[in-house]
């Protein structure tokens, strides 16, 4: 069954051209995760480039400590959220698997990617409609978000293990091999920081694409992540219809 037939079939189950795409756990995760990433990037930036010094007695001041604390707390939220998200890829509906398993072995997937690229380069008149993510989005989510997050979690835990020390799971499972893999601790810091920019670039593209698609491709994108439903504002066209 091709991806497109798959989606058309799903559509037929509803009278309205609207599809339930994002289940509640996915939506909740999405926004918690967005909040965690925002916190991580903000505090992480300051960890490498601290704010101006503050005066006073160090006993009563813990500014940098709090910055780091919120980073670590948000890091664990990101981690637990991500583990849950991986679990939900198995437990949830088939859209939940999409970003983890881009169907790169399928020809129509790559045709979709090419078509989306054309659409973004103003070469195609209309985008194809997809119930979940379009193939290009799936690919970018997979490479930039999924692997970016895994990278940040692994390097982040390796840095965290340096503080907790030998004998802790963070050190034994992560620091012990991640640090020599990158060279030394400093390299892990640097790559963790490069990873932040990688994620920030993803966020820029992600938000832009979501807003733009919402307007240009006449299907809900942003509100779908709140309500779970994807509405197609152009009832004459069904997802997967060739334009």
């Amino acid at each position: 069954m091709s991806m497109q037939q798959d989606m058309s079939k799903e559509l037929q189950m509803h009278a309205e051209p609207a599809v339930y795409v994002y289940e509640a756990p996915i939506r909740i995760w999405h926004w918690i995760n967005a909040f965690a990433i925002f916190t991580l990037a903000l505090t992480g930036y300051f960890i490498g480039q601290p704010p101006p010094s503050i005066p006073g007695e160090p006993t009563f001041t813990f500014l940098f400590g709090y910055i780091r604390f919120f980073h670590f707390a948000a890091g664990y939220i990101l981690l637990i959220g991500f583990l849950f998200r991986v679990y939900w890829a198995f437990a949830g509906n088939h859209h939940a698997r999409q970003i983890f398993l881009p169907q790169v072995w399928r020809k129509d997937f790559w045709e979709g990617v090419v078509h989306e690229l054309k659409w973004y380069f103003f070469l195609a008149k209309e985008p194809k409609k997809y119930v979940g993510h379009n193939p290009l989005a799936t690919l970018i989510m997979h490479i930039m978000f999924v692997w970016g997050t895994i990278f940040m979690i692994v390097t982040g835990l390796a840095l965290y293990g340096e503080g907790t020390g030998m004998g802790t799971w963070q050190y034994d499972w992560f620091s012990s091999w991640v640090i020599p893999l990158f060279g030394q601790s400093m390299d892990v810091h640097t790559w963790h920081r490069v990873g932040m920019w990688w994620i920030i670039i993803f966020v820029i593209v992600h938000i832009y694409a979501a807003v733009r698609e919402d307007i240009m491709s006449r299907q809900t994108i942003i509100s779908s992540m709140i309500s779970g439903w994807r509405n197609f504002r152009d009832p004459s066209r069904k997802p997967g219809d060739e334009i």
């Binding site: 480039q49 340096e162 390299d187």
Partner: protein, 357 residues
């Protein structure tokens, strides 16, 4: 050289009293983080075990490891160990010279097969068949290979032997290569630092001589008892770090107050070493206490990471003076601009479409 001679015999011959000997044992046990009961174990081992010969080789290096070693806080420690070692081979401090010295080396290699330790200071440069470092008329690589062939274990002294150090800095013209990349079939214990702390050196060697085995090593090959924590973990300026109180530039008011040196490039948070606990020169001070950040001298490639006074390291692939943030902001700005242009183009297209309808 008697085969049955023990460490204790050697010490007594050096004129060391039994009382001093026992003090040395307690001190060593304490330095290695072992309980007091180990002092007697060390004493027992030293009294009964035949002395293990040590060959101390010098490759491409500056001799700062030896300089550090002979300044060990407890004079006894270094006297004892030094005299034990110099009996065999260490071209900086042994009495023998020339052919006599090379004989001594040969003697140990041939008579103690599989039962001696090679301590290497410096590293072999491999370019031009090793011609950049000649010892006794031959490339050091050859001496290293010859001496280690039958050894029990190797100690890589300092960052040179462990990682290559400054002579291996890009572009590494002599191809200075750390010992473990040349000798791959022997247990190697790395004691990095430029130089390593004297007490760390004496403790490591004493541990190996008395217990007849390598101390517990981390994954990189460093003894856990001295390299399992970062300078930052035990730094006395840490409260200022947590408070967010930093030296903004050298000689500012914050520097006078002794604030944390993080912003002026302190590498304490990424450097595994014992300076903040054992300190230097008989425990007098250490760099951070003197107002200068740690430069990370016991970490791999510390010489190639950009400024010692910058918190973020250079990313060489993107040219000099670029770090994660300059690369990141440039990339994010490029993507942001692309997005803005794309958004503008999208609006134009939409307006055009609307008109067409």
């Amino acid at each position: 050289m008697q085969a049955t001679e023990t460490f204790y015999d050697v010490m007594r011959r050096q004129g060391i009293s039994r009382r001093s000997f026992l003090k040395f044992c307690s001190l060593t046990a304490a330095a290695m983080g072992l309980g007091p009961q180990y002092a007697s174990q060390i004493a027992h081992a030293m009294e009964n075990k035949p002395r293990i010969p040590v060959l101390w080789l010098h490759g491409l290096e500056c001799t700062c490891c030896t300089e550090s070693f002979i300044r060990s806080a407890h004079p006894l420690a270094k006297d004892v160990i030094l005299s034990m070692i110099s009996l065999d081979y260490d071209d900086t401090i042994m009495a023998a010279a020339g052919h006599q010295a090379e004989e001594a080396l040969k003697d140990v290699v041939e008579n103690y097969k599989g039962n001696y330790i090679v301590a290497v200071e410096g590293n072999p440069p491999l370019n031009e068949d090793g011609m950049y470092c000649i010892v006794a008329g031959k490339p050091f690589t050859e001496q290293l290979r010859y001496a280690t062939e039958h050894c029990k274990a190797i100690i890589s002294w300092g960052s040179c032997a462990s990682y290559g150090c400054v002579q291996a800095a890009r572009p590494n013209p002599t191809r200075a290569t750390p010992v473990h990349k040349v000798i791959t079939d022997k247990p190697i214990i790395k004691v990095p630092g430029c130089p390593p702390i004297a007490e760390v050196m004496t403790a490591v060697i004493t541990y190996m001589l008395t217990f007849d085995k390598l101390p517990a090593l981390d994954r990189v090959g460093r003894p856990k008892m001295f390299y399992s924590q970062r300078i930052h973990d035990k730094c006395y300026r840490r409260p200022h770090f947590d408070a967010g109180q930093f030296v903004e530039s050298f000689d500012d008011e914050n520097a006078r107050k002794g604030y944390c040196l993080y912003k002026v490039g302190c590498k304490g948070p990424t450097t595994y070493n014992a300076c903040s606990t054992i300190r230097w020169n008989e425990g007098v001070s250490f760099p951070i206490q003197a107002g200068h950040g740690c430069i990370g001298c016991s970490e791999d490639a510390f010489w190639d990471k950009g400024s010692w006074y910058a918190r973020l390291q250079d990313i060489k692939a993107f040219g000099a003076e670029s770090n994660a943030d300059t690369v990141g902001t440039a990339a994010a700005a490029a993507v942001g601009t692309a997005v803005a242009v794309h958004a503008a183009a999208s609006v134009v297209k939409r307006v055009a479409q609307k008109k067409g309808e």
